[in-house]
Symmetry: C2
Subunit: 297 residues, 2 copies
């Protein structure tokens, strides 16, 4: 004989319920069936799993250890069945999500943890594209769902939904001229501004442009590195400043003018024509239901 899943099941049920009889009741089998199955398992493994001194069987040290192993084997069977079920339910086996770094990581991590619990069998690929355009990735089928900042013109094939607005902070290095005292709007124009090198052209690209001289940098993270060196000032979302390794060298100077949180709209995008499975739909709904840390949408 060879070790059988039924044997392992009888073993685990016995360990969990505390007696062969109870295990029989749980598994809807006769007590004798459980008893012999566990006994056979012990013969196959060549080791005693339960000590049968008293009225109830009690795990031996070996039984204790092997119980954990048995649970693993049974879990893997359940997992296999789950994978098969997700195939028949036409759940995606793989889902690619492209998220702009503007989206705060903390709720993102919570969301994906939740996703993993709901769809344990779906392989998730997360992209944080730098220079590529999120909407282009979605358009080309390289990503199933995208989260990006607003682009005025989106192709008609792309569906979208506004998630909310992320407020930006004005930040500069602590040795930068702007770091001392409150800032005038006109003053801003005289210093170099660092902006993310947005990919597609359009009016949105220019909306935040304030200074005469602008450098284009591929990521907010890199921008902070440059800001720290005193190369210029920038508009960067809160959460990126918070989590920056160089945040001690950064200054958020007070402003002498209003309406100065420069909100940026975050959009969720997908391809209208590509059919989306249950996992993609679930993720879209959850994205839409979440509120961004800033103003609600």
């Amino acid at each position: 004989m060879t070790v059988t899943l039924d044997q392992l099941q009888a073993f685990v049920a016995t360990a969990e319920s505390g007696s062969f009889s109870a295990a029989g009741r749980v598994l809807r089998k006769a007590q004798s069936a459980i008893s012999t199955q566990v006994s056979n398992l012990e013969d196959d493994l060549g080791i005693e799993l339960f000590s049968r001194q008293g009225r109830n069987p009690v795990l031996t040290p070996a039984g204790e250890r092997l119980l954990a192993e048995a649970r693993v084997v049974l879990d893997r069977r359940e997992h296999l069945i789950g994978v098969a079920a997700s195939f028949t339910a036409h759940v995606e086996h793989r889902l690619v999500v492209a998220v702009d770094e503007l989206y705060p990581e903390k709720p993102l991590a919570a969301l994906f943890a939740d996703f993993a619990a709901h769809f344990p069998h779906v392989e998730l690929e997360l992209l944080f594209p730098m220079m590529e355009d999120v909407s282009r990735l979605v358009l080309d089928g390289k990503a199933d769902i995208g989260v990006m900042w607003r682009q005025e013109i989106l192709p008609a094939e792309i569906g979208f939904h506004t998630l909310g607005w992320v407020p930006l902070q004005l930040v500069c290095g602590k040795n930068h001229p702007l770091a001392n005292g409150a800032i005038d709007f006109e003053e801003l124009k005289r210093h170099r501004q660092l902006m993310v090198a947005v990919r597609s052209e359009g009016p949105e690209k220019q909306r935040l442009r304030t200074a005469a001289e602008v450098w284009w940098v591929e990521s907010h993270w890199v921008i902070l590195q440059l800001v720290r060196q005193g190369i210029g000032w920038a508009l960067v979302p809160d959460h990126i400043i918070e989590n920056s390794p160089v945040r001690e060298d950064l200054v958020i100077p007070p402003l002498r003018f209003d309406g100065a949180d420069w909100p940026v709209a975050l959009e969720m995008v997908w391809h209208k024509q590509r059919p989306s499975g249950p996992a993609a739909r679930w993720l879209r709904e959850r994205f839409a239901a979440m509120r961004i840390s800033g103003l609600p949408g």
Copy 2:
């Protein structure tokens, strides 16, 4: 019916051998048995694993994915059986090894990789004790095997075996007075020496003492940090210097006297009276068979 290990085995064998017939030959069963078992598995999972268009069955995408899962389940069964076998063979379930940092990590890692392959079911705990004495850990039963540098007096209950000698290098900071030019033995005595704070007293503790003024530090790694600051000079094994994060700031000055590699003997120790299982014996033999990077023992 529920998914059975036999079914999975038939499935995997079919996928590996390319046909039901071949799988039957491999598993020493009739072709019909394999065929029906795979068919039953497909019914249970509710999905087609093989496409049966041509002469031979060929995996569907779902089959491809589930094949990996099936292999995992079968592997876990083998693992369980292996754990049980190691119980009956009275293999230790846990082995604690205390290694002095003098022992080079590279061969150590290779050795333990090998160990993991031979004894996959043994939990290994590795200690790199700082201030505690390795022989004391072994004596107290907190470690099964120890590798330490030679202590003249070892308790009688401790068995030991000399593994080899580790040569030490004289090292100092690049701004230290000794860093310029070849070094005289008398010169050494005038500068502060940093030594590892060895735990037990004994003549071995004093053997390497050269300077008048000595600081005792708990680890060679920390010693290098201090040496880098120019606090003193030290004798440190090669591999620790190599792997130090501060090695650019260190200098190994030339010496104007001979016999200056200060070899330190490494011993393997164990408790004679405590019975050792197969894993401990294997590890002892392999330790003994290895040559230290320096002179052979």
